[in-house]
């Protein structure tokens, strides 16, 4: 329980108590206003998120090819089949691998580049834009360009040859033992920009006085970053990790364009599995079961992360913000 919330609750009841009728009609108006503004969004959310999720739950217990009535009830068989399926297990492993390496690679890159870009130098804005460009590029466009670059004897191999690094050359997307790492590389290129921009924004919240105070005390640049900046970036880092984690678990488009989950399932993710084995084969019941599993896995990890890490920020954040505004 965080103290801020309790304070506010008491404040509410104290305020509304003695003022009587005027206040309560005021409250009604407020509620109406809220309903008025929230209802459309809530309605859309219900139609396009809640209902489909519930429907998926219903379909997932039927063997159904999308045509005709739902009449072949199979209970939890679709779930059992998915959980026991080697390729689905591999997809889960791949998702977790991607999540782990996304964080392990992009976080250090993000912090380092953000720190560099936070220092004043000529062309700073231009550099910031360049770094963010991959993230802004449409996924499909970026994916298709990478597919062309990574062709056997394609531009990447040519560049490596010219640099005398021809021995590094690989069948980037066609070799099952290399493909996942190739995908990882493209993902790093694509998404590091987001980490950098978020961390740069976070850096703006680190008060300049602290830096000054530290340098007066004789701290080196590195010490300042390690002891002051990075700890104060904590909330931003934890939020970014959360985004990265969920994104990795639900990764679809880039993998689909680069490899379609191949070669021989080397880069399969839960989402490509869902499309490939489920909807492409018109096993909508099975696809729904996989969708529900993906939903549950993401949901559980999200809740876990939220309770373990993000809640701390809610507590830490508040008093600090108050002080700043004052």
């Amino acid at each position: 329980m965080n103290p801020g919330a309790t304070d506010q609750a008491t404040a509410w009841s104290v305020a509304s108590g003695p003022r009587g009728r005027g206040a309560s009609s005021n409250q009604w108006r407020k509620r109406l206003e809220i309903t008025f503004f929230v209802a459309p969004a809530l309605l859309l959310f219900a139609i396009f998120v809640i209902v489909p999720v519930l429907q998926a739950g219903r379909y997932s217990v039927f063997n159904w090819n999308g045509l005709g009535p739902l009449d072949n009830f199979v209970g939890l068989q679709n779930y059992v089949q998915a959980l026991g399926d080697e390729i689905f297990q591999r997809a889960v492993r791949n998702n977790l691998t991607i999540a782990f390496f996304s964080i392990a690679i992009q976080l250090p890159i993000g912090i380092m580049v953000a720190l560099l870009l936070n220092r004043k130098f000529r062309g700073q804005t231009a550099m910031r834009v360049i770094v963010f460009v991959p993230y802004v590029l449409a996924e499909v466009v970026a994916g298709v360009v990478w597919v062309l670059i990574l062709q056997p004897n394609g531009p990447l191999d040519a560049v490596l040859d010219t640099l005398g690094l021809g021995f590094i050359g690989q069948v980037w997307l066609g070799d099952p033992s290399v493909a996942l790492w190739t995908v990882m590389g493209v993902l790093t290129w694509k998404y590091s920009g987001l980490a950098i921009v978020l961390l740069l924004a976070g850096l703006q919240g680190v008060p300049e006085e602290l830096h000054e105070a530290a340098s007066i005390d004789g701290a080196t640049w590195w010490q300042v970053q390690r002891k002051i900046t990075i700890p104060l970036l904590g909330p931003t880092i934890r939020t970014w990790i959360f985004l990265s984690l969920i994104g990795s678990l639900q990764l679809f488009d880039m993998v689909w364009i680069l490899t379609k989950g191949g070669p021989v399932n080397a880069t399969v993710t839960m989402a490509t599995y869902l499309i490939n084995q489920g909807t492409d084969r018109q096993q909508y019941g099975y696809a729904s079961a996989v969708a529900i599993l993906l939903f549950c896995i993401s949901f559980i990890l999200a809740i876990l992360y939220q309770t373990l890490f993000l809640n701390r920020d809610a507590g830490v954040d508040k008093p600090r913000r108050k002080k700043v505004t004052r």
Binding site: G154, I246, L251, G262, V264, T279, Q282
Partner: protein
Amino acid sequence: MKRTAALRAVALGAAVAMIATACSSGSGSDDATEGAGESTTLTWWHNSNTGAGKDYYDQLADEFEGDHPGVTVEVSALAHEDMLTKLDAAFQTGDQPDVFMERGGGELKAHVEAGLVKDISDSAADTISAIGGSVAGWQAEGQTYALPFSLGVVGFWYNKQIFADAGITEAPTTMDDLYAAIDTLKAAGIEPISVGAGDKWPAAHYWYYFALRQCSQEVLTDAVQTLDFSDDCWVRAGTSLEELVAKEPFNTGFLATVAQTGPASASGLLATGKVAMELAGHWEPGVMQGLTDDGQGLGENTGWFAFPEVAGGEGDPKAQLGGGDAWACSNDAPDVCVDFLEFMLSNDVQKGFAELDMGLPTLPSATAFVSAPELAQLLAVRNEAPYIQLYFDTAFGESIGGAMNDAIANVFGGVGSAQDVVDATVAAAESA
């Protein structure tokens, strides 16, 4: 990373399905307008959305309207992939067009079981007998549901120039010939064969053909009906494939190569002279033309030979793997829809279709009008074939065919065995 796209993926299967139930009771208004003299609208989806083909179909629609006063044909010319996606969704909502394309096999069977396709066995009896045996792929339980207008076979397309330069004078007719050709080409520093194993079905065609060569016609026909894969010819098909894969005849990175999109696709590699040959269907010259700057594809260097004989196989060496497209009527379409199908398969229409090289006509009287020489050669092979086996993935339907294709692609990737292909297929057949 991205959250929203992935959230969408979570709900995707569900959303499509939701729309399906929401609308499943909304169809059936078409059949109210059948009476003579009243105005009737026929909706027609086709995939000839460019050039002369599109004009030809527009012209046919006008012609049919002229012959049938009161009938309006509403034509939607869609890109092939768009058409398939839209058709899938339309079948789920039961709101499919009156006239649409059916590819036969398991797909058609599913549509028939769901009561979506009109039985035309009696109403189009004359045309059915005129087309002859080709109609078999569009029959279920002895009834006919669609009229095939184009039927092609799969074979090796090759670059005559490259073959000649490497000193290969005769197109291979046995697997030993093919292996010799592969060795010769490799020795000349040319990648022999491109295959779009990334899309799986082009790789699967090899296994299909080996099955066709290894298994007798009875075993094949029986398997399509009963899903019985116990004959050991099915495993032998995989063994033949393993043998071919072990020769390493394929283009670098073939596991990720796509079939037809872009210069690095299997078709693109053949069209630009990077490989010597590719196993593909009758569509290949058209695809290659789209992949070269001059729009010529391989031009006069285009060659074609049938899939070679396999020593010791029980199948007829002249049997071919193929498939095609047929016109079908929605179950709730007005009766005049069947007249339209018969019109589309009439002598004149098929002749015009052949002259424009839009496909390989099924009406025997129209086959003489195919103008491209290599297509004419392929047509001769098709017409000589004792039987044409429909692509197995189409024949068995997506759920079994998809599992089969995956397992075959694994053999290409060296992570699956001949037995695995049979096992995966049997497992999928049991759970379907």
